[in-house]
């Protein structure tokens, strides 16, 4: 009798201990980042730092916002990410529609390519990609980086949108077709509105990938004027100094907020989109 009562209780205790350990491991770095962002220079220089700032201050945030290079590169990031997201959807939407509605060998090729692109080492194409961009005079331009980001997020965008298109009944389109609407008309006035949630998810996903990306930006952009936020943060990190860490932490917190908020919005849909795509594929 006692055995039966004892075991679940001990099991629960173990589970809660493990969960606490996980929470600590996951949360602690974030708390430390936040804590650093609110510490003044004198507290940063102390030998025995504490988790809770003694005298919390917003100085680091205002310092970060007054740092010309950070603000400028944040704006660059906004421009590049928005443009990349919009272009990705504009190109992916018709293609995803075709992949969902037409059965052909292209389907298999395209889906195989989607899978391949996920495991494809960028290193294989980064040098020739750089050379091609250079030949087209797109190195050190935002347009160059936008193009690279679009090509980079297209496979996944296609995959997502294709799943959403498959969720729309063909009958609706057939009805419109018998009424004499052309394919493009159907796509614009019937499919696109119904796809709105899928389009939003894809837009936000492409935006976040571009906002967070680092490696491609590092290769394409050398001019600090053009740098995206990730690049500028990494550059500041290069020249160290305890005093600079506070504003840097504040800037990092600010840089994370957009993608965190957007990710929170689409997270559930992204997971379900992934799974439904996987099931239907």
């Amino acid at each position: 009798m006692t055995m039966v009562a004892e075991r679940p209780r001990r099991r629960r205790a173990f589970q809660y201990t493990a969960l606490s350990a996980y929470l600590l491991f996951l949360a602690f770095p974030l708390l430390w980042l936040l804590s650093t962002a609110f510490k003044g220079p004198r507290e940063m220089a102390r030998l025995h730092p504490t988790l809770i700032p003694h005298a919390p201050t917003l100085d680091n945030f205002s310092a970060a916002l007054h740092e010309q290079a950070l603000v400028h590169s944040a704006w660059n990031s906004v421009k590049v990410s928005v443009a990349a997201a919009v272009l990705t959807v504009l190109l992916a939407l018709p293609a995803a529609y075709a992949l969902a509605r037409f059965r052909s060998r292209l389907n298999r090729v395209a889906l195989g390519w989607v899978v391949l692109s996920q495991i494809f080492p960028l290193i294989l194409i980064i040098i020739p990609l750089f050379l091609i961009l250079r030949d087209l005079h797109l190195v050190d331009t935002h347009l160059g980086l936008i193009i690279v980001y679009v090509v980079w997020s297209l496979p996944f965008a296609l995959w997502l949108l294709r799943g959403y298109v498959q969720g729309i009944p063909v009958e609706l389109e057939e009805a419109a077709a018998t009424d004499g609407a052309g394919r493009l008309r159907i796509l614009v006035s019937i499919v696109a509105p119904l796809l709105a949630p899928g389009i939003v998810v894809t837009l936000l996903f492409s935006f976040i990938s571009a906002w967070n990306e680092f490696f491609l930006a590092l290769v394409v952009l050398n001019d600090p004027e053009q740098a995206t936020l990730s690049l500028t943060l990494a550059r500041f990190l290069g020249k160290e100094g305890v005093a600079d860490l506070g504003p840097l932490a504040a800037a990092s917190v600010l840089a994370t907020i957009p993608s965190l908020v957007l990710f929170g919005v689409i997270q559930r849909r992204l997971t379900s989109g992934l799974l439904s795509g996987a099931v239907k594929g």
């Binding site: 770095p29 974030l30 960028l122 050379l131 799974l275």
Partner: protein
């Protein structure tokens, strides 16, 4: 590819199609063009570049030099070092990421308080820019201002280690960050898998007197097996190709202790301008990864039959 759409196919049995396939082509072309120019073309050019002595400079003089790059790679101790570091890093991070991710997914699948908090927290690293993740951990490892040394000092240790520049601690320190950053995706995927395991199976087994370990071993694991296979393979490949995190944390140092293959290739290509050599390195990496994939897939096929 294009002819395949232009000609009506016979695979239209299950799904009704509307209109002509010429239209499908028109719909796909806008996406195909950038992919062809900026993905397929570089791919072909990259393979070719690996057999040349291309160098960044005034002009990219590309005179073919056959297998010279590959011969040089074979004797390049820096390449072998990066390969070794890459293997250690990818195997360790993938293994820890999987074990911890599975543990967390199992916990999150139970009716526990604070589950929502763990779920939310587990997603945050996924959404964070890698550069910020790197910076965040630099703050923890910081020799003076970092919490790690402060905690060690409090416990009576010296607390003066510079974790990221110390030869013996740099790689382990970076691995911890890799696990922290990579665990969420593994957790979420495994959690989705766990939730698709039919509950009736567990109930039936519990009625028959199977303990939780037995149920895990004989019901959960087998039904997750295909997913586990896929996710660990993908994680391994992603980790082997990692760049941003480690670039920010150590830039490959100290003394190449954290020089992942991608970092090495980046340095060769864009640091020293050895485009041909770096391209050859890329080719070798792809061959290695393709080889690993074949090994894994073959085993999976054998298991299936």
């Amino acid at each position: 590819m294009t002819t395949a759409i232009a000609v009506p196919t016979r695979r239209t049995r299950r799904r009704r199609t509307l209109g002509l396939n010429r239209e499908a082509l028109l719909l796909v072309i806008p996406a195909l063009i950038p992919i062809a120019i900026f993905s397929v073309l570089p791919l072909a050019r990259g393979i070719y570049l690996g057999f040349t002595d291309a160098h960044a400079g005034l002009n990219v003089s590309t005179s073919a030099n056959g297998l010279a790059n590959y011969r040089e790679l074979l004797h390049d101790s820096l390449f072998w070092n990066s390969f070794k570091v890459g293997l250690v890093w990818a195997v360790t991070v993938t293994a820890l990421q999987f074990c911890l991710g599975l543990g967390l997914a199992l916990l999150l699948n139970e009716q526990l308080r604070l589950r929502w908090l763990a779920r939310t927290l587990a997603l945050i690293p996924w959404a964070m820019p890698p550069v910020v993740v790197g910076l965040m951990w630099k703050l923890i490892y910081h020799p003076n201002a970092g919490i790690l040394n402060a905690a060690i000092a409090k416990l009576g240790g010296a607390g003066d280690t510079d974790w990221l520049t110390n030869f013996s601690t740099a790689l382990p320190a970076v691995i911890v960050v890799g696990v922290w950053a990579g665990m969420p995706q593994t957790t979420v995927t495994l959690l989705a898998g766990l939730q698709s395991v039919p509950g009736e199976l567990h109930e039936a087994a519990a009625v028959d007197g199977a303990g939780s370990w037995q149920r895990f071993r004989h019901i959960t694991l087998p039904s997750l097996a295909p997913m586990i296979m896929a996710i660990t393979t993908l994680d391994f490949i992603w980790n082997f190709n990692a760049f941003g995190l480690v670039y920010v944390l150590t830039a490959g140092g100290p003394g190449g202790r954290t020089q992942l293959p991608m970092l090495f290739a980046y340095q060769e290509g864009f640091g020293y301008g050895n485009f041909g050599y770096a391209a050859a390195l890329g080719n070798v990496m792809v061959l290695i990864i393709a080889g690993l994939m074949v090994l894994v897939l073959r085993r999976r096929l054998q298991e299936a039959s």
